[in-house]
């Protein structure tokens, strides 16, 4: 016996091009929707990971513009203000603090980068405390420098690749004309560390004539402590700004929220257009089969049977379109990633579009629900067709 599913399938196949175009419309909407939801999830996950990979939850900087400085730091930029490193002793007295690490960020102008020159940045770090903050950093070659006064350097993966450096090679700090021996090259981390050149903090202080000065202190908190309470206490320190990385995250999320709202609006419009397309396709199909439906009812089909048949057609269109859209979104997620990176003011490392099974199931259910809603009116109209009028072809359509 032929099932309602088979009848619906055959009906859709009778107008292949129209059915296909409707499915493509649904697929495109589903693609946009899945990509957007995947981006929402992926961006936040990557941002969280970037912030976690910084190894500390609070940063202390000299008074200036903490949010911008923190964002720059995430992107591998440089800080411009300095503070005395004696402040570290005061910070360590606080009971909430587990570890701290001092950082001195410095930059020099390299006239031999490109046509107009460029900036070369260096991170002065204390290898012991910095490595403890970032235990996830692994070495591709070599190891950390042990002497904070030595002229040695550790390079992030991409920095080493760009400079074609291996352990044992020399690097030159432009402007200052100081040479460093490369003693370690880090594995790729997908964070700002990949493009960073780390040198001993004391050496960098001497080179830039900044004795006992630093730009940043990274603070790792003890588990379960109240970060806000510590921040309040630290604000009493003179001429410093405290940057909570949770605040940095909020700021960045606000920065991209406009872009997200725009894309969401486009997705909603696309879905509405697809819905209208579905209604139009099914309604046209109902009118074309006006007499056929009348005959169906004459031979015993009840209004609910006709309703189910038309509803099933809608559901099949949406299901196939939705699945196609999800496949598009999965296949092109990397391309979406690249495009989003070009558009957004700041993009964290790692994948920006995260599409998992839960998201796929939710989207598919959403698309099917939209399909069911879209199918109600055409199915209802079909169910109301009067058999004799339909056969005579006189109904007021």
């Amino acid at each position: 016996m032929i099932t309602i599913f088979q009848v619906a399938y055959k009906n859709l196949f009778r107008k292949k091009v129209r059915s296909l175009l409707t499915m493509v419309g649904i697929a495109l909407s589903a693609w946009v929707l899945v990509s957007l939801l995947g981006f929402n999830r992926g961006y936040e996950t990557s941002l969280n990971r970037d912030i976690d990979n910084m190894g500390f939850q609070l940063m202390i900087m000299a008074k200036g513009c903490p949010y911008e400085a923190a964002t720059l730091m995430l992107k591998g930029g440089t800080g411009l203000r300095y503070m005395d490193e004696s402040i570290m002793k005061d910070i360590m007295k606080e009971s909430e603090v587990e570890k701290i690490t001092p950082i001195l960020m410095s930059a020099v102008f390299d006239p031999n980068k490109g046509a107009n020159g460029g900036i070369a940045g260096y991170f002065g770090v204390e290898p012991k405390s910095f490595a403890e903050m970032k235990p996830f950093l692994k070495f591709r070659q070599g190891k950390w420098f042990t002497d904070t006064n030595s002229f040695e350097a550790v390079m992030g993966f991409e920095a080493a690749e760009l400079e074609q450096r291996e352990v044992g090679d020399m690097i030159l700090m432009p402007e200052k004309n100081v040479q460093f021996k490369v003693v370690g090259i880090l594995d790729r981390t997908g964070t700002q560390d990949d493009g960073t050149v780390f040198v001993p903090i004391n050496t960098l202080q001497k080179i830039f004539n900044r004795p006992n000065e630093i730009t940043t202190i990274g603070i790792k908190l003890k588990k379960g402590v109240d970060s806000a309470r510590l921040e309040e206490k630290l604000y009493k320190l003179p001429d410093v700004q405290i940057v909570s990385l949770a605040q940095v995250k909020d700021t960045i999320m606000k920065l991209i929220s406009t872009a997200k709202v725009m894309v969401l609006s486009i997705a909603i419009i696309a879905i509405m257009i697809a819905m209208v397309g579905v209604v139009n396709t099914i309604l046209t199909s109902v009118w074309e089969r006006f007499q056929e439906i009348g005959i169906l009812k004459t031979i015993g089909a009840m209004p609910w049977d006709v309703f189910k048949l038309i509803w099933m057609e809608t559901l099949m269109l949406c299901a196939v379109g939705g699945v196609l859209g999800i496949i598009f979104a999965l296949m092109l997620s990397r391309v979406t990633d690249i495009v989003m990176r070009r558009i957004l003011p700041y993009a964290p490392g790692g994948g920006l579009v995260l599409i998992d099974l839960k998201l796929i199931v939710i989207t598919l259910i959403g698309i099917l629900c939209i399909g069911l809603l879209s199918g109600i009116y055409p199915a209802w109209r079909a169910g109301r067709i009067r058999p004799l009028e339909a056969i005579r072809g006189e109904a007021g359509r």
Partner: protein
């Protein structure tokens, strides 16, 4: 048709993979740099390739033989992506710009060659170099010494000993203190010419002059 779609999808993913592979050598600002290096150009087309894509191990062996030395270090590898800029005046192809990375004494050196359709050097540009003497080697006077030279001239240049004969031997080092970087620049030039010969010049049957522009 289906094959074309599959190929396009494959290229999208293959191209993206290269982003996370070895580092390539692109012009920092192609629009500005192409206009500066090729003043009569009206447009350009960017082509991405690699030894791996073009011929794999066999091509690598050929390039190494022609260069006279094996590829060195952990960055000079078979999968390094190369960017070739095809230069156009309206729809007429008039030349190429191609760069390579080269290990220098204190950092990576990026050597770009501006070539005509026959592969003759008409411009030499070191985009990036870290050295106290980089200014001298990046100076136009030094670059002018390469104009008019071809792969044939560089064939006799020994990248290991730095010895040569003929026109390459006439290239003077403006910074004798930076002999290592001078030799690196010559090695990069020879490698660049060999790669362009393998990727483009020896592959094209005749000088095609029609194409699109960007």
């Amino acid at each position: 048709m289906i094959k074309r779609i599959i190929l396009a999808v494959f290229l999208i993913f293959a191209g993206y993979t290269a982003v996370f592979g070895a580092v390539g050598c692109d012009l920092n600002d192609p629009d500005r740099d192409v206009a500066r290096l090729f003043p009569e150009s009206t447009g350009y087309k960017t082509i991405y390739t690699s030894i791996q894509k073009k011929g794999g191990e066999k091509l690598l062996a050929t390039v190494e033989t022609r260069l006279g030395v094996k590829f060195q270090g952990i960055y000079e590898t078979i999968d390094v992506p190369y960017t070739i800029y095809e230069i156009y005046t309206n729809k007429k192809k008039i030349g190429y710009i191609h760069g390579v990375n080269q290990k220098g004494q204190f950092g990576g050196i990026q050597v770009f060659l501006v070539l005509n359709l026959e592969g003759t050097i008409r411009g030499f540009y070191i985009q990036k170099m870290t050295s106290q003497y980089a200014g001298k080697l990046r100076d136009q006077k030094f670059g002018k010494q390469f104009i008019g030279l071809t792969l044939r001239d560089f064939s006799a240049y020994d990248v290991v000993s730095g010895k040569s004969s003929g026109k390459v031997d006439a290239i003077k080092n403006p910074a004798p203190e930076a002999e290592a970087d001078f030799r690196a620049a010559l090695r990069a030039t020879k490698k660049n010419l060999i790669l362009m010969d393998e990727f483009v010049l020896s592959a094209q049957p005749a000088q095609s002059s029609e194409g699109g522009t960007k």
